[in-house]
Subunit: 359 residues, 2 copies
Amino acid sequence: MQTLTVELADRSYPINIGAGLLRQESLLQAAVLARDILLVSNTTVAPLYADAVRQSLGDRRIIDVILPDGEQHKSLATAGRVFDVLIANRFGRDALVLALGGGVVGDLAGFVAACYQRGIDYVQVPTTLLAQVDSSVGGKTAVNHPGGKNLIGAFHQPREVFADTDVLATLPDSELSAGLAEIIKYGLLADRSFFEWLEANMPALRRRDPQALAHAIYRSCQIKAQIVERDEREQGERALLNLGHTFGHAIEAATGYVEWLHGEAVGVGLLLAASMSQRLGALSAADVRRVAALLERAGLRTSAPQIGAATAADYMRIDKKVQGGRVRLVLLTHLGEAYITGDYADAALRSTLQEYFGA
Amino acid sequence: MQTLTVELADRSYPINIGAGLLRQESLLQAAVLARDILLVSNTTVAPLYADAVRQSLGDRRIIDVILPDGEQHKSLATAGRVFDVLIANRFGRDALVLALGGGVVGDLAGFVAACYQRGIDYVQVPTTLLAQVDSSVGGKTAVNHPGGKNLIGAFHQPREVFADTDVLATLPDSELSAGLAEIIKYGLLADRSFFEWLEANMPALRRRDPQALAHAIYRSCQIKAQIVERDEREQGERALLNLGHTFGHAIEAATGYVEWLHGEAVGVGLLLAASMSQRLGALSAADVRRVAALLERAGLRTSAPQIGAATAADYMRIDKKVQGGRVRLVLLTHLGEAYITGDYADAALRSTLQEYFGA
């Protein structure tokens, strides 16, 4: 097991990464001191891992909330039902929320923990690769609104994160690939040598080699943690983590958040960011081909739905990254370094959108 | 105009107190830089002051959300409707929420600002005495749940507060008295000479003398600010501000939050805290009589509803102040100093509850 600490003064917390964490009974017991625990999971994950977690926690009062699986349940209404359970069981400020699941469970349970009695502790046990490298790190919690994703939320850091690579064994291939998209993102935005390591080790990652996965998760969390430590509340630099996301959100929104996994959309978004960066003279055509090739080898798509450039541009404007009426983008200076800007040639954006989304 | 700064590092903000603030057009204009403003108010306050605020803000995009008046609308469902308005108008992270009203409007609008896109700015224009001395200071935002008050919320400091004593002219007498209960609380918990000043100046406050009101508001906000500065998230000392509240919450809860104003219930709660402190040997009978006399002269009740001690004790346990199964209380060492404890003689609590709530 490797442990990485996210350094945020009194909100610092450890991320534990490795194989078999949930089977080590003493691990969760030592980390979780609360007597009252709300275990939030979903109908897919709970049958697989809830018993192991319960056993690992030992003798506590554990109340389950098992949500239906799916992004559409990450809503204020679902959060309301979780509050109901906390209150019906008279959970106090010293209770703890334990999120066992992917990003939907983690974001929603974290949001509930952020708001219940103005903030109680929570622990993340992410069960998807994407949640392990992204949503469980950095304290962004949220629910969706019909008008847009993650529009209602809070910054609330977990007490501890347990990323057990064993749970990835039951992950569908498409979800493994979706997680790999976020991992590729970290290489692209911050670490060229990690990008090259991914090029060399993609086969090992696809066959779920525990050591390769643990390294990829560790390095991804480390890159994210370093950025979050410098800019917890996304006043500036943290927006780098949105590389590929503004393009990706347009794909998700245009397809109603059901056809495309978040990570799949981010994957294509990375390619659009690279392609636009090439148009702006920063990347070479060979660089863009390397990005596309790595995405393909990760089992990801490299073409966008043909919704038309105008529609895509419109969806990008609904995203949270609009400032003073202008969409801010994360672009690349080269493979391994990104920057945030609202100051770019509109023609470059337009032709990028036309190439990928159609005229 | 007097200005007091709540010192909370990058979350510091000024509270402006005085007569005619809303008529000074340049004041709000200078404080509010956002172009997009959501003006949250209620059906009682908006007809009186919304035009003045709009005029004072000058040329912006101002969208109104006028809520029905009443504590029962301080709910997650109402917050949901305010989110809908923000999103329907495509308000971005640089938009600002302006709360114009009493505690219900301020707490709800503040909670919405805390969660919208994980936190946008808000400004408080409190229009009740209670909101001016209490809910607009310190960043506690929340909505109620059928299971208890303020159970869903966030800590989110406003950018600026404007407490205009002129708006108190239209306040019903009962609401003026309710605000005076919180003001008496500050004297009792932190400043004996302020308590004595209140004894001397209660007639001026009751006839709404602007200078007396401005002084009482300033000193109350100052006491609250000093405590909040040392303990923003209520890890310890801030709980002193709950003096009278745990007893008061039992009254409000037992009477369905409609018969008693919050401040009225707190007023009787102060008397119970004093009375229990006498039973524990800290206060004299004369001290308790002084508290009762000041409450009476403030136009407040000094007797509780006859719900029975057992029922009252049960409602106290639902309050947020329970820790490890034991209700923590704020009690007095003498007039002008309070302390927090879970370590008290149960008999003293029981006999206090029996005296005020009946056997």
